[in-house]
């Protein structure tokens, strides 16, 4: 009898981790694409996801549109927002990586306060959907978890095939690996940058509504998804789309376990420590071709 409950608990933990992890991969997808191609360090990533979430929330609650039909407007709006971001960041000077980090840090503050004015400080949630018991998995599963899991899988695999199987993907990957060499090979790097921002924005717009189904929206809640996106992207390494799923699942498992064993209040600290650990131990993840201190050629 006791053994049974233990088994049940582990299955539930596994299902939750998988769902959470897929959610993280989805959150990271837009960040990873933009960072990989353009070296832009977008600290306003989480705020953009929130923006998508709010758009979906108000379309859903206000206009009564089905949740799935809120995806296209959100994606379109965020695509536009990403292009605006691109227009701003184009003017940033060297050192580009650090300066985009600081500029988007400022943009995050602007967006937070703008959202506070427009959407007020109320916590909002689209709703968890139905929850039911799946005999085959021996665990409770919700509508939202299934939607998130499928969307994430679909989006990640689409990006993966875009990168691996199409001509555009080849050009994007070449740009990721070496901007200068790509330019010399006749690839229009500025177009690639634009495409990366556009696609990344659309992916952020896809993540937003699902975020609003999973987590409460609050104008100041953006820094957490930003950190999660960075963690998953560093873990995966630049240009490795499938790695995002793996990284998401691993992080989801660690976080689920943290919540389970320590309580939800320690989760943010664990993510922060994972991020610091990854920055120290996996410098080649995000910064493969960067010079490392004390190691000049």
């Amino acid at each position: 009898m006791e053994n049974l409950t233990v088994d049940f608990m582990w299955m539930q933990l596994l299902v939750n981790s998988l769902a959470l992890g897929s959610f993280y991969a989805l959150i990271a997808l837009g960040f990873a694409l933009i960072f990989g191609v353009t070296r832009t360090f977008n600290l306003a990533h989480g705020e953009l996801i929130l923006l998508g979430g709010y758009i979906s929330y108000f379309l859903f609650k206000g206009a009564g549109i089905h949740i799935l039909w809120t995806l296209p407007p959100s994606m379109l709006a965020l695509l536009g927002a990403a292009l605006v971001l691109h227009a701003i960041l184009r003017r940033v000077r060297e050192p580009y990586e650090l300066n985009t980090l600081v500029v988007t840090f400022g943009l995050a503050l602007v967006l937070q306060n703008a959202m506070l004015v427009i959407f007020t400080a109320d916590y909002r949630l689209i709703g968890h959907g139905r929850q039911f018991f799946l005999e085959s998995l021996d665990a409770y599963v919700s509508d939202t978890q299934i939607t998130v899991f499928l969307t994430s899988l679909l989006a990640t695999l689409s990006v993966h095939f875009l990168m691996r199987r199409t001509f555009l993907g080849k050009a994007l990957r070449a740009t990721i690996q070496d901007r200068e060499a790509a330019r010399l090979a006749g690839i229009h790097v500025d177009h690639m940058t634009l495409i990366a921002f556009g696609t990344g924005g659309a992916l952020i717009g896809l993540a937003g509504p699902l975020y609003a189904q999973t987590t409460y929206l609050h104008p100041f809640g953006g820094s957490e998804p930003t950190l999660l996106a960075i963690i998953v992207s560093i873990f995966a390494g630049v240009g490795r789309t499938r790695g995002l799923l793996l990284g998401g699942w691993l992080l989801g498992t660690i976080e689920s376990a943290t919540v389970f064993f320590l309580g939800s209040s320690w989760r943010e600290m664990v993510s922060a420590m994972i991020l610091i650990g990854l920055l120290l131990l996996r410098p080649e993840g995000l910064w493969s071709e960067r010079s490392k201190p004390g190691r000049e050629a």
Partner: protein, 259 residues
């Protein structure tokens, strides 16, 4: 230490360096005598600059030991090695870009070797003196990033001299310079030895190294393949095979490119 080793300034014992599990230097043994000019030659990627980085503490060797005047300096930090009396220039010049030429040299004087008891009562050089040696007197107030490549190289030499080194490491001093600038460089190098310095030079420009060096060390694939008198090394079959054979046009290119 035996008396015959007393005039050895720098020695390395079995030094090896690995980058990402790739060996960059393997089993390097060398000894540099006081007041000599030793040149290190070898094709790109042979490990010449890494050797300098190991000596100056910018890269920690995976194995082996480095000695300066009988004292081990293997795990010392760059500034400690500088204070001991070793200074260097870089392959791509690295002056402090926002500082003026004069300020750059002054930095060397301020932060270099502090006590120089072994020099007796000789007054330390001033920044103006050093700029004059480097032929940059008229550029003293120019910001370093606005100088030409050749001027930046000479500025780096002046800054390095400001630290009052006994051993000076020059990385690619002649690359990208015009023939007349190279003649100036040769003069400068000879002058420095007259003043009691020991020099270790990396250069692709074989005419320069052959003219001024007392000894040549040929590196290839991270190993010393030949060392000895310039004429011996340059005529050695393995050097010709690994370096001159496939890269003979390079010394000529060094003459034509640049300023």
């Amino acid at each position: 230490m035996a008396a015959e080793e007393a005039h050895i300034v720098l020695s390395m014992e079995n030094v090896g360096v690995m980058f990402d599990s790739q060996p960059v230097l393997k089993g390097i043994d060398l000894a540099v005598e006081e007041q000599t000019i030793v040149s290190i030659i070898g094709p790109n990627g042979a490990g010449k600059t890494t050797l300098f980085n190991v000596i100056c503490g910018h890269v920690r060797p995976s194995v082996g030991r480095v000695f300066y005047r009988g004292r081990e300096i293997t795990r010392k930090q760059p500034h400690e090695i500088c204070h001991a009396g070793i200074s260097r220039t870089f392959q791509i010049p690295r002056p402090f870009p926002e500082m003026t030429a004069l300020e750059n040299v002054q930095m060397g004087i301020w932060f270099g070797k502090e006590a120089h008891a072994d020099r007796g009562s000789e007054a330390p050089p001033t920044a103006a003196d050093l700029l004059e040696i480097a032929g940059l007197t008229h550029k003293g107030q120019t910001r370093a990033k606005e100088l030409t490549l050749s001027e930046q190289r000479r500025l780096e030499v002046a800054r390095a001299l400001g630290t009052r080194p006994r051993l000076l490491l020059l990385d690619e001093i002649a690359a990208g310079l015009s023939p007349s600038a190279i003649r100036q460089a040769v003069e400068l190098v000879r002058n420095l030895r007259e003043h009691g310095l020991t020099l270790l030079i990396i250069d692709h420009f074989l005419n320069l190294t052959a003219r001024v060096s007392d000894r040549l060390i040929a590196l290839d694939n991270g190993e010393i393949i030949v060392e000895g008198k310039p004429s011996e090394v340059l005529n050695s079959p393995s050097v010709i095979a690994s370096y001159l054979g496939e890269r003979s046009p390079e010394p000529r290119m060094a003459e034509t490119e640049g300023v």
